[in-house]
Subunit: 347 residues, 2 copies
Amino acid sequence: MSEENARRRVTVHDVARAAGVSLATVDRVLNGRPGVRAATAEKVDEAIARLGFSRDLNASLMARARDLRVSFFIPDSSNEFMDRLAEAVGARAAQASADRIHILTHRVRALDAGDLARALNGLAAQSCDCAVIVPSEEPEIIAAVDAATRRGIVVMTLVSDLPGSGRRHFIGIDNAAAGRTAASLLGRFLPQGGKVAVIAGSLHLRDHIERFEGFSGIAGGEFPLLCLVGPLEGHDEAEATESVVSALLARHPDLAGIYNLGAGNAGLVAALEKSGRARQVRVIAHELTAPTRAGLNSGAIDVVLDQNPDGEIREAIAAARTLALATARPVVTDPIEIGIFLRDNLR
Amino acid sequence: MSEENARRRVTVHDVARAAGVSLATVDRVLNGRPGVRAATAEKVDEAIARLGFSRDLNASLMARARDLRVSFFIPDSSNEFMDRLAEAVGARAAQASADRIHILTHRVRALDAGDLARALNGLAAQSCDCAVIVPSEEPEIIAAVDAATRRGIVVMTLVSDLPGSGRRHFIGIDNAAAGRTAASLLGRFLPQGGKVAVIAGSLHLRDHIERFEGFSGIAGGEFPLLCLVGPLEGHDEAEATESVVSALLARHPDLAGIYNLGAGNAGLVAALEKSGRARQVRVIAHELTAPTRAGLNSGAIDVVLDQNPDGEIREAIAAARTLALATARPVVTDPIEIGIFLRDNLR
DNA sequence: TAGGTCATGAGGCACGTACCTCATTTTTGG
DNA sequence: CCAAAAATGAGGTACGTGCCTCATGACCTA
């Protein structure tokens, strides 16, 4: 029922004995140092597998002269969500430091693939073990990721994935599921049906496309009474979003719902308030930020879908720890759940 | 922008030097060993505070002969949620073991305060550093918690809190917020208003009372078109819940919504299906389990509020680590968010 | 003041790994 | 087959803390 016989930890000494080699050789294999014949290395690997040896990360970090260095590259001032991400990194830094993980935050120019690529290319393996980036899907960035990987830097993607690159892990939500959830909520909010508008930041962003596809799949399939308007583009920015929404409200006096799957929510709320139709239109937006919180509290926004930046950073650091020290081990990360917030469960 | 000068870690050596005492004395103070005059201990404490020393938990665990031992006491077979909790504990055990935390799971008889109290009283500080319990609010249990605390065992509460006891930390959701959220969703699902029934497991359980109060506060205050029926008691059990719901549906042919804030959801779904009114009544339930998943998939249940047992266990272990080794330090835990699940964002 | 108790200091070994040096063995190429 | 090169072994120190022993010094009490 409860007590397992606590058997002794498997150490490098055991591996050395089992493989019939010395500690020094095991050490060379484990840390990828040169001077080991392939046949010998294989004996060691076999012993590691047979014994189920797994290096003690804490002892390992303690023995190293330097802490594990993890660099976060967060887009700068593009929107409040990125600021939340950067704050979350800062908040975890102290705690990580106690566990011998040294966190660096770099802000890079948003929507500037060249800037991120340059930053990655400037990273030396001597000064960084793991890089965490929020990429857009550009060949320039894929190339930089692959180059960094070849230099021995573990690269992970955050929020938005970069398939086809050498990135070792992705941490973020399932954006199609987010879109489906929005549709499903709006469908239930509007049992009589009605016109529902979708606003995206840009139809060139992977996250946004996935959200839109998830939304329209469910809205079209399960809620035939809903009538889709859009998608319109608000460019993730308050002013542009406000004018788009204002025009939208003017053109459709019977608009029943809005799903803004991008940013620019301050503009969304402003347009709703100015039209006098806030609280008459059911509204779903993304990411808990100052404008969306205000919208929830005033009732202009009904639901906010959130991707929990704190949790993302926590998992990113945990994954970095595993990846950077236990290379080639499968990484298991707690999935990031889509947070659904109403005024009533605001944190 | 990025690079802080990585200053050296503050160690016990620094503390000893700063306090003008020897390493041995610092060690005695840190580990509560006897043989230190109050005045000397104070010098050490002062130096610790001045230098901002914080013991290296990993080095500490490595130096100890034994791992940190954390015992979870989970109610047995009362409902599927508790099984999920126990599973989550098991799933974390391997990972925790790599960090020198030894997890034990004990199942205790559900709804049997005496059994949990006995188990706690049988715990020796020599074999357990931290106990995590899911308590009901009984004097017997409060006494056992206090006794364990006096014996030097850190006690934490999970899912349901035990204020007024010596428990060092509580990990769980805000149940009043959960109730408010349910009301707010149902209110939006039923813009025309209608009869809404509330079913609890028992009105003697703290969680359930808090959920009901949150629900009725919002339902009565913000959605005056809703008409509350109940609360009824389903005793957290499928058969009793089924008969309660069947009677409810028979008596109210115009019932528009149901909020089951307790367990027994298999009975809830069965009653809905048998009545032929599944999918006509808006239904909100608690905890993602086999019956609620089935209900979401069939459409019998619209929304499930979930308290994320995996996250709870993760935070419990993290808190145990902090509490058991860095006594008297404020514990910071990531808040457990209320998960809101529709068919469309099921994990 | 002698004998005792208590407080403190000094130092060592252990935990599991990293990383270094220096011997010694094995392999390889000509 | 010999010399050079490569592979391997042996063993040390370090990381920061826990825990142990032993010696020394201070203080108290009869």
